[in-house]
Symmetry: C2
Subunit: 418 residues, 2 copies
Amino acid sequence: MALDPSSPIEVHGRKYALPKCPTVVVCVDGFDPEYLDQGISDGILPNMGRFVQTESFAVTAKCAMPSFTNPNNLSIITGAPTAAHGIAGNFFLDKETKQEFMCLDDSLLRGTTILKELSERGVRVAAVTAKDKLRKIIGHGLKAANGAICFSSEKASACSVAEHGVGDVEAWIGRPTPSQYSGDLSLFVLDAGVKILEEQRADFLYLTLSDFVQHHHAPGSREANDFYDALDVRIGRLADLGALVAITGDHGMSDKADVHGQPNILFLQDRLEEKWGKGSARIICPITDPFVKHHGALGSFVRVHLEDSTQANDVLRFCQGLAEVEIALLGHVAAETFEMPLDREADLVVIAKKNAVIGSTAAEHDLSSISGHRLRSHGGLSEQAIPLILSGPVKNKDLPTDGWRNFDAFHLVLNEAA
Amino acid sequence: MALDPSSPIEVHGRKYALPKCPTVVVCVDGFDPEYLDQGISDGILPNMGRFVQTESFAVTAKCAMPSFTNPNNLSIITGAPTAAHGIAGNFFLDKETKQEFMCLDDSLLRGTTILKELSERGVRVAAVTAKDKLRKIIGHGLKAANGAICFSSEKASACSVAEHGVGDVEAWIGRPTPSQYSGDLSLFVLDAGVKILEEQRADFLYLTLSDFVQHHHAPGSREANDFYDALDVRIGRLADLGALVAITGDHGMSDKADVHGQPNILFLQDRLEEKWGKGSARIICPITDPFVKHHGALGSFVRVHLEDSTQANDVLRFCQGLAEVEIALLGHVAAETFEMPLDREADLVVIAKKNAVIGSTAAEHDLSSISGHRLRSHGGLSEQAIPLILSGPVKNKDLPTDGWRNFDAFHLVLNEAA
């Protein structure tokens, strides 16, 4: 039986219709709804503001847990929580061997992605990321030989047609690769998306940014407003070029400092080792890579590996009593509750309150680089809220506006959009 | 082997030394740490402020979940989470029969209490509550014939020596029974405590108040400051009479209204019945009694009973996606995680975000009586923080200051106080 080439594709039990027009999904990293509200209020988001305030479909959704970047990008492109695709953090420890597994490319990814299935069905897919490591993961199954485009703005200067589907990117976009540590790294991604549409080089685009600005600047600050202003101009351009655009994000962002500007940090490994002895516990900060030793490793979700797993209940009760902790769960309970991969889980999961972060030991986190600015981070339940905005209306006027997840973005734009 | 009459008593696996001097534990209902911080800052808490700022032991602890009044009073007087004593809300539904069981007296209480064990060991115990229903529960095992005193300020006019250990309470205290709906109901409890100490009528006192003021007035408001000022005077008097005093609370209190003053309410039964049909779900609001039909039934923790328990996972995923929900858990997971009695648990537990409450149906909650004032309530993780203050130092200078629970109050005052 020949497959109807226009029939829906299926990924993790969900069906997706093929795009009927140029379609773009933008993942704005760190897109806390406060940036959207503030931006609309400050009048700097004419395009997204228009989508939110008219007949276009716009809701506040929730991201997957943990509210981190890689897990959520993978959830968005697979339409499923992390248990389906296997990526629930930047790295994990094998429970038995305690060996570290870093998520540096697609080798730890489980199953397929919507981008891959669309591409193999003949849809011209373009996936552009800010950081190259994410590009290696979400580029899974996207072959330049099939006409797919997949590159990062971080490595724009090293792109080739043979590998990335596009070469000489800097000349093509008209400016050099921006610094990794800039808002421009993200604007470059959107500029690439605009170019791709102008030149009609793809039918379906996934553009995913970086949260450099949101980590450093609060909603309403000049730097945040400049960034969102520039972002909104480009989103407007994508829509003006005739694309159907869905905008969402991977996670929100919260202020994690006290009234004096000092970061509220729980050094959990220090606390646990004080009580149970050196080597009794190892805290994993899956917001970033294991070798990152500064404030960048401080997020609101950590995993706890115990030397002696039989201590899990006692350690759990202790963690639950700590002021900075919102909730602590046994690993298998967290995996079931948040739909995370059980075999990559730890003994415990500990989630911080909205104004706090959790680190391993004070000695392991060099905080000199955050002196002078308020720490902003994510990972907890408090950073789950995320906008989900469509540039036009949906077919079903009675479509519920509650219960949406950011990983429903492809479903929204491919199945529900009018 | 004769029991050494001075040996420690034991309750739920923890030992407690007998009091060495007149000892008072005060449970200030709704004692959010913000009231303490604001009160010290506003200079209206000279006594508690002195305890917090000198060599006395003072920490921020966490209450038991759910952060409600009866569960926490029972936890405080048993030194254990709700799974031990069985009281995890004002009422519960039997999972099979769906019959309602209201916690109106000690018939649903499991096991003993520290007050009962102290009293049977010959310690003269006095337990004074604001509300009479709580008096019936915590009065478990306290017999006037054994010299125990146990009464409520609500029913002060109906006390007798034979039943309550003291009679003519209004004349004794010097004023009539205050209104249930007043701060004075709580001050009357403390005045009774002062009288009991002045007349040397008890060795160990448990004084537990009501949160009428905290439900209606934010920290720093004139009404809150007047109340805490009056509370602090009485606490100072208890200490001046030579008592060792521990002050804690049952739960905190949060503002649950939006920028316009409108309460943020999730009517969860309406939402679930929209999706799964009328009668598919029953939301229990265990913050109060089942017949309460106004804003008083709105708290940040509800239980969900499903007509069809096989739908639990689908309903769970839907609840997790709702904006007002901080976390939703399967009932048995919540029972394990929060140490609540499994056999009195529901299909699901749903906990609201700090600024929201959950109700059953819009039709069931008459909100006319809260128009004009901002809703304040509790029940969630966001109301777990609670002060735990001792009027003097502890024996062990290295006693950890983290990980304390409000239900460690009796341990603190009987075992750790210097």
